[in-house]
Amino acid sequence: MLARDNPIMIQARVISALVLRDMHSRFGRTFFGTLIIVAWPLSHLLFLMCLYIVARRVVLVGTDSAVFFGTGLLPYILCFYPARWIMFSVVQNRSLLGLPIVKVSDIILARSIVEITAAFWVTCIFILILFLFGVNAFPRRPNDAMMAILATVYLAFAIGWTAAVLYALVRAWMGIQILILIVMYFTSGVFFIPMNLPAQLRNILWFNPLLHSVEWLRSAYYDGYGYGLLSKSYLFWSATVILFIGLAAERLLRGRLMIQSA
């Protein structure tokens, strides 16, 4: 009987069922609907990259503008999409909280698994597409690139978890979060080199964790890039603090989240 099952096994079973449900229901019940979860951020990424390449032909660093803009846009897409979709998770699945076995954290974790998996597919397909177009997108330091991507997805997960709780309680949070993410995007160094900015402005932008994601990923492609500015520990700790706030909020406000489902 379930009551005597290992609680971790129960949670794993609930989360895996929620993952399948999310994949089959978010954009329709067909396989094409599941593909959209990956295709949407990927097409956004490719569209923005083409736009930047066409608009700005001068290469700021290295020899290929596709690599420069790609390494700037990829962290933004890997942060923006998971954070946004995780934010919607509780509100979209609130009726499930009427089932005694389903917890708020299960719903957020299930959506996070789908989004993190999608983020890795986006990364792989993006690099493959660049290769198909003759762009050498393989990093000089693959470990650094991989760690930068993992750290960015961790940041997205942390933002998403906190936002899922806040959005479930305050609908206005969606607008606030989109605004924050847009500001993070424009100040992350996607289309400029932060080291070329005046020190005063650079010191302010330093507090944007997404800037460190971009710097970290680019440092895996360009020798010496990010030196004096990149702080891997700041990215990690800012994500951890945000996640801690989200976990604490979920624990403290769980009762209110559940009342609204009843």
Binding site: M1, L2, A3, D5, I10, R13, V14, S16, A17, L18, L20, R21, H24, S25, G28, R29, S95, L96, L97, G98, L99, P100, I101, V102, R254, G255, M258, I259, S261, A262
Partner: protein, 217 residues
């Protein structure tokens, strides 16, 4: 066993604090079925949700060592864009049951024919109730929660619900909220009256019904 330890539950309604359970402690024993009575607005449904764990107390603890159902006939877990079959398979997976067996049972019980493969949003409310009730019967629970709804559909289907439910009653407990005192007499061993934030436990159901009638006059 379901154990309430010093449970406080209240809602704030227009700056007014409505206390549903006022530091209540009670143990609901396995092998016994309980009928919960109370006037409208006393908080019976809230009490059921606290038992289920789909709502939390403001303070105190609710411990469960038994597999508790969702309130019988609850259709909130059904996703409108998924088919009846997909929804049934999802809930079977969640509860660790064989999806094929649960689907076969619900398909046979709900009698909605080809609608089983249509999205739930195309169902009538009666069809949703049939699938939801079938799901409650398809998954084995040690304790069934009933919030007024004991059967759904027309007279024939209502009778079918009763027959199926009586089969579960043999090896499962029931915690029932209803104004129907004859149903309490039929299904429950003990009675609880919820009034003014307090639970009044009665070993004999008739004693609980008597108090309920007095406070309901």
């Amino acid at each position: 066993m379901i154990k309430f330890e010093n449970v406080l539950k209240f809602y704030r309604i227009h700056r007014h604090r409505k206390v549903v359970l006022n530091y209540v402690s009670i143990s609901l024993q396995p092998g016994s079925s309980y009928g919960i009575l109370g006037v409208n607005g006393a908080g019976k449904s809230t009490f059921i949700r606290l038992i289920a764990g789909s709502e939390l107390p403001n303070s105190g603890r609710v411990q469960r060592t038994t597999r508790v159902s969702w309130p019988l006939g609850f259709g909130g877990g059904l996703h409108p864009n998924l088919t009846g079959r997909e929804n049934v398979r999802f809930l079977a997976r969640v509860y660790g049951e064989d999806p094929r067996q649960v689907t076969e049972f619900v398909e046979d019980f709900a009698e909605i024919g080809p609608y089983m493969d249509a999205p739930v949003k195309t169902y009538s409310s009666g069809m949703v109730a049939r699938v939801a009730f079938g799901l409650s019967m398809a998954i084995d629970f040690e304790c069934y929660l009933i919030d007024e709804v004991m059967a759904v559909g027309d007279a024939r289907f209502t009778e079918r619900c009763r027959v199926e439910f009586n089969k579960r009653k043999v090896h499962s407990d029931i915690i029932m909220v209803t104004h129907d005192t004859s149903a309490i007499r039929e299904y429950c061993d003990h009675g609880i009256v919820l009034a003014n934030g307090n639970l009044h436990y009665f070993h004999e159901v008739d004693d609980a019904i008597e108090l309920y009638k007095r406070i309901n006059m």
